[in-house]
């Protein structure tokens, strides 16, 4: 397998086209998968109902039908809107999602760009979506939109910090910021000298994992942290004035980001695309890697969406105090403990 793949060395332009096409195809697909599996099916089961049943086999194509419906709708912009900014905002949010997929490794070589500072890149790019959200809120010429956008900005900045701090523990332990490097470190690691399951960092960085998932939940503006789009308070926040495919892009970006964040959590805490009993350098990972990563992503997404379907919305001040008074101090303590233990052992 390796000689075959090694002989495939396309010119720069061709490899770029292939990468763009792959990311362009993967983003809507993952959003669709998460939407159908969790938003439609798991949520329905948790509420003792069946979910969509009519479109396609067991209603699995319902989201596709909804997407087509969104595309058919008229593209409306309000009279007072700052038209150019209004139309660009969803694309800025989506571009942040697309760029996140660049660094997510599906195996040692199945990665769009294997960056040495992958962790740093991911965290930096994920905060790009705030700009899109603020653009949407400001350009809509709507008070609810602006309120929602300001809430979103406050929330995303507040939860960016615990997210970064939670990840530092993993980086200290792995000694690298490359996402692939973290996977190798976990695969080759050992728990007190026992190499049976490698060393998935969820064992040592459990607090980090908890903080990361909580922060991801807030970054995605999902319940219980969905104040920016709180429909009972500010109608729908920054999405109020968006219709048709522009709203679809917001939806797509939210679920695709959920997938990629679950993927990053899987890479950093659950061992990524590698399974413990198979060496990370094995050629099998060309095929096995994406499947393993997908399974782990579904596991992490299940946790994210389980929390989403269980808890009601927090209050705005509770949201802020949860980040500043609880998560950030906890993350700092976690970093100190990790650093001390790293030096000691």
């Amino acid at each position: 397998m390796t000689p075959l793949l090694a002989s495939f060395d396309p010119p720069y332009w061709l490899s770029t086209v292939i990468k763009v096409l792959v990311v362009g195809a993967v983003v809507p697909t993952t959003a669709l998968i998460l939407g159908v599996v969790f938003l439609f099916k798991i949520m329905s089961w948790m509420q003792s109902r069946l979910g969509p049943q009519e479109a396609g086999p067991r209603g699995l194509l319902q989201l596709l039908a909804d997407g087509v419906k969104f595309i058919q709708k008229e593209d409306i912009a309000p009279n007072g809107a700052d038209l150019w900014v209004f139309k660009a905002a969803p694309l800025v949010v989506l571009s942040s999602t697309l760029l996140l997929y660049v660094a997510l490794p599906a195996s040692a070589h199945l990665v769009v760009e294997d960056l040495d500072v992958g962790v740093f890149y991911v965290l930096a790019i994920s905060s790009l979506s705030v700009i899109g959200v603020l653009m949407a809120g400001w350009a809509s010429a709507n008070k609810y939109s602006l309120m929602g956008a300001l809430r979103a900005a406050g929330q995303l900045i507040a939860y960016e910090l615990p997210m970064v701090l939670a990840v530092i523990g993993v980086v200290i332990q792995a000694g690298t910021m490359s996402l692939n490097g973290i996977v190798f470190a976990q695969n080759g690691g050992a728990v007190f000298g026992w190499t049976g399951i490698g060393n998935p960092y969820i064992l040592t960085q459990f607090i980090g994992f908890f903080i990361f998932i909580a922060a991801v939940q807030a970054e995605l503006t999902q319940p219980p942290f969905d104040m920016p789009v709180a429909e009972s308070e500010i109608v729908s926040g920054y999405q109020v004035e968006y219709t048709g495919f522009r709203f679809l892009i917001f939806f797509l970006a939210e679920f695709a980001t959920a997938f990629v964040f679950a993927g990053i959590a899987a890479v950093m805490f659950l061992g990524g695309w590698a399974v413990p009993w198979l060496e990370a350098s094995s050629d099998w990972y060309y095929v096995l890697g994406p499947a393993v990563l997908f399974a782990k992503v579904m596991l992490v997404s299940f946790i994210i969406f389980w929390v989403r379907f269980t808890y009601p919305r927090l209050r705005e001040d509770q949201l802020q105090s949860f980040a500043w008074k609880f998560l950030i101090p906890l993350a700092l303590v976690n970093i100190v403990a990790t650093a001390v233990l790293k030096v000691v052992f």
Partner: protein, 167 residues
């Protein structure tokens, strides 16, 4: 952190509900494919027992939505006994209920002094055209077939009524 046990319990509830749904089916029914029988006293549609109606118009006047339309004319009926006086009676010409206006409050059924109106649990009478929701006398009479047998009130309901404060 006193909230933590409650938060974990909440996660347990949703997870348990998911397992229950997958194992023993959901609480819902897939309506057009399978039908759920409504309870006997469900407020589906109002039926008219025409023989009991005296065209007194009480229902039409009490209706908050003004969705009942009654027209009647008087006629002289033959005397009940030999040598008696001929009686004046009301002949019901029109009794329509516009179900596009009706809000199913049931006041007409409550106020009818002659037991001419009844609730029935039948509910599948939607129409393509909104005007077809105006049920005339004969249509309302057809609903009589679906009126369930009167069920006795549950024991002790009179005692409960007395407890209601006056003011």
């Amino acid at each position: 952190m006193p909230q933590v046990p409650g938060l974990i319990k909440g996660l347990g509830v949703t997870f348990g509900e998911m397992v229950k749904t997958l194992k023993s089916g959901p609480q819902t029914t897939r309506y057009p494919h399978e039908r759920e029988e409504p309870t006997a006293r469900a407020r589906g549609v109002i039926a008219l027992h025409e023989e009991n109606c005296t065209s007194c118009m009480l229902c039409a006047r009490e209706c908050p939505d003004w969705c009942i339309f009654i027209e009647a004319h008087k006629y002289v009926a033959p005397p009940r006994r030999e040598g008696g006086k001929p009686r004046q009676k009301n002949e019901l010409d029109r009794f329509d209920i516009d179900y596009s206006l009706c809000m199913y409050c049931g006041i007409c059924v409550e106020v009818c002094p002659f037991d001419a109106l009844f609730w029935t649990p039948e509910h599948e009478y939607s129409e393509i055209r909104i005007a077809d929701l105006l049920h005339d006398k004969s249509r309302l009479a057809q609903w009589m077939e679906t009126v369930p047998e009167f069920e006795a009130y549950e024991a002790g309901s009179e005692a409960k009524l007395r407890k209601v404060p006056k003011d």
